[in-house]
C-alpha cells in the first residue's frame, strides 16, 4: 500500500487517470487515493464533472476527445453522467434566457392584447402618451397661430406694396407735371425775358427815333389853309395831335386816308383823349414811311358805349418831303 501523504494533485494527471491514460502502477495509486483520501476524492469528482461538461459543451478535442469516447463512455454509469450533464446544461441555459424572454413576451402579449381591445396600456404608459398628445396638440396650435400670423403679415405687406406702388406712380406723375410746369415757366420766363429785351431794345430804339409832330384842328367849312408837315430824311415817326372840341366820347379811333382815293392807309387802336392845354386832344403816331409828298386826311371816330361809332371830324394835312 502506498502512503497517503499530503500532496497537491495535478488536474492534468487526474484527467489522464479518468481517461485511462496512466500506467497500471499510477492508476492503482490514484485508485487508492480516490477511496481513501477525502481531498483527493473531492478533487477527482470536480475534475470528472469538468471533463464531462467539456464533452457536452464540445470543448474536448484530439486525444482527449477520442479517449473520452472510447474509454470514458464505455460504461453505463458514465454515460448516465454525461446525459445528466447535458440535461443540466440545457436547463441552466434555458433558465438564464427564459426569465427575461418570458417577461418580455408577457409584457408584449399583454400590451398588444390591451391595445387591440382599445384599452390603454396602463397608467404607466398612459402618462407619457397623454403628455405626448398634449405636446402634439400644443405644437399643432402653435403652428396654426404662426401660419395665421404669417398670412396676415403677408396680406398687410402686399397691401403696403400696392399702396407704395400707387404712390410711386402718383409721385411720378406729379413730377412729370411739375417738370412740365417748370418747363413752361422757363419757357414763359424766356419769352418774358425776350420781350423785356425787345422792349428794352425798343425803348432804346424809341429813345433814338426822329419824330415830327403836328397839331391839327378839325376841318371846317370855308377853311382854305391846310396844315403841312415837312419830313426830312431819317424821320421815323409822325405824331399828330388832333384837337377835340367836345368830349362826347370816352374812346376814339383814328384812320389815315388818301383823300384822292379814299384808301385807308393806317388805322389806330382805341384811343383816349389826352389833355392839350385847356382842351383835349387825341395823340396818334405812325411811321413816317407811310407818307408821300401829298395831301392826307385823318378821320376821328368816336366810339360810344352802346351804339355805333360816329365820325367826329376830319383833319387834313399836307406832307412835304425835304
Amino acid at each position: 500500500m502506498s502512503s497517503l501523504g499530503k500532496q497537491t494533485y495535478d488536474d492534468q494527471v487526474l484527467l489522464r487517470y479518468l481517461l485511462g491514460l496512466l500506467t497500471a502502477e499510477e492508476t492503482e495509486h490514484l485508485d487508492e487515493l480516490s477511496i481513501a483520501d477525502d481531498e483527493f476524492a473531492l478533487r477527482l469528482n470536480v475534475v470528472e464533472n469538468e471533463l464531462v461538461d467539456a464533452y457536452v459543451s464540445n470543448d474536448l478535442s484530439g486525444q482527449n476527445l477520442e479517449q473520452f469516447k472510447t474509454f470514458y463512455l464505455s460504461t453505463v454509469e458514465r454515460r448516465q453522467r454525461v446525459a445528466f450533464a447535458e440535461a443540466l446544461r440545457v436547463f441552466a441555459k434555458g433558465t438564464a434566457a427564459a426569465p427575461s424572454r418570458t417577461a418580455t413576451l408577457s409584457a408584449d402579449v399583454r400590451v398588444k392584447r390591451e391595445l387591440s381591445q382599445g384599452a390603454s396600456p396602463g397608467p404607466m404608459l398612459a402618462i407619457p402618451r397623454l403628455r405626448l398628445q398634449w405636446v402634439l396638440a400644443g405644437a399643432t396650435l402653435a403652428m396654426l397661430l404662426a401660419a395665421g400670423y404669417l398670412f396676415v403679415q403677408n396680406y398687410r405687406l402686399e397691401t403696403q406694396i400696392t399702396e407704395a406702388r400707387a404712390k410711386r406712380i402718383r409721385l411720378d406723375q406729379r413730377q412729370q407735371e411739375l417738370q412740365k410746369e417748370l418747363n413752361d415757366q422757363r419757357s414763359a420766363n424766356a419769352q418774358t425775358l425776350n420781350e423785356l429785351e425787345r422792349v428794352r431794345v425798343s425803348q432804346t430804339n424809341l429813345d433814338q427815333l426822329k419824330t415830327v409832330s403836328l397839331f391839327l384842328m378839325p376841318q371846317t367849312r370855308g377853311a382854305t389853309g391846310v396844315a403841312s408837315v415837312s419830313l426830312h430824311p431819317g424821320t421815323d415817326l409822325v405824331v399828330l395831335l388832333l384837337a377835340v372840341e367836345s368830349e362826347d366820347f370816352s374812346a376814339y379811333r383814328v384812320t389815315l386816308k388818301d383823300p384822292a382815293t379814299n384808301q385807308v392807309l393806317w388805322r389806330s387802336t382805341t384811343l383816349a383823349s389826352v389833355p392839350a392845354g385847356e382842351k383835349k386832344a387825341i395823340s396818334v403816331s405812325f411811321r413816317a414811311s407811310l407818307l408821300k409828298q401829298q395831301n392826307y386826311i385823318v378821320e376821328l371816330t368816336g366810339i360810344p358805349a352802346r351804339s355805333a361809332p360816329e365820325l367826329v371830324g376830319g383833319y387834313p394835312f399836307r406832307v412835304v418831303l425835304k
Partner: protein, 168 residues
Amino acid sequence: MRRRLVSYFDRKNCLSPDDLADETLNRVAQKLEEKGSITDLTPAHYCYIVAKFVFMEYLRRADRGLAGLDELSHSGLPQSQVPESFTGDADLDDKERELACLERCLNKLEPGERDLILEYYQDEQRAKIERRAQMAARLGLSMNALSIRACRIRNKLEVCVRTCCREP
C-alpha cells in the same frame, strides 16, 4: 464512501458498480462487527483494501466464465459497439423525462442551492469562467471552494434525477 466505491468500480469498467460497492461496504461492516474496530488502517483505507479484493474476485469470476451476462463489462469495446442509446443520441422521451426529473429535483433543493447550481452552469467558455469568478467573489469563496460546493449540489441532483428516472 459508497459513491467513491461506485466510482472506483465504474472506473474499473465493472458492469454493476453499485452491487460491488454494496458488497464492499457489507464486508467492511461485517469486519467491524467481528472485530469491533479497525485500528491499523483508516476506515477509508480499509474500504479501499476491501474494494480491491472485491474487484479481484470480480475479475476471477469473469476469467472463469462464471460471471453472468450482467456482470460482463463493456470495457475495451469500441465506440461503435456501445449501445446507441448511450452514444449521445438518447431517445427524446428519455431526454424529456430526464429534464422533467431534473426540474423536479431542482425544486427540491434549497433556493440558495438551486440558484447557485443554475448560475454555475449558465454560460459557456470564457463567460462561464468569469461568471464563476464573480460568484466566488460574491459568496466570499475561493474558486476551488466554489467548485466543490457546486460539485456537491450536482451530486445530490444527480442521485435525485437517477432515482426519478427509474420510477415507473
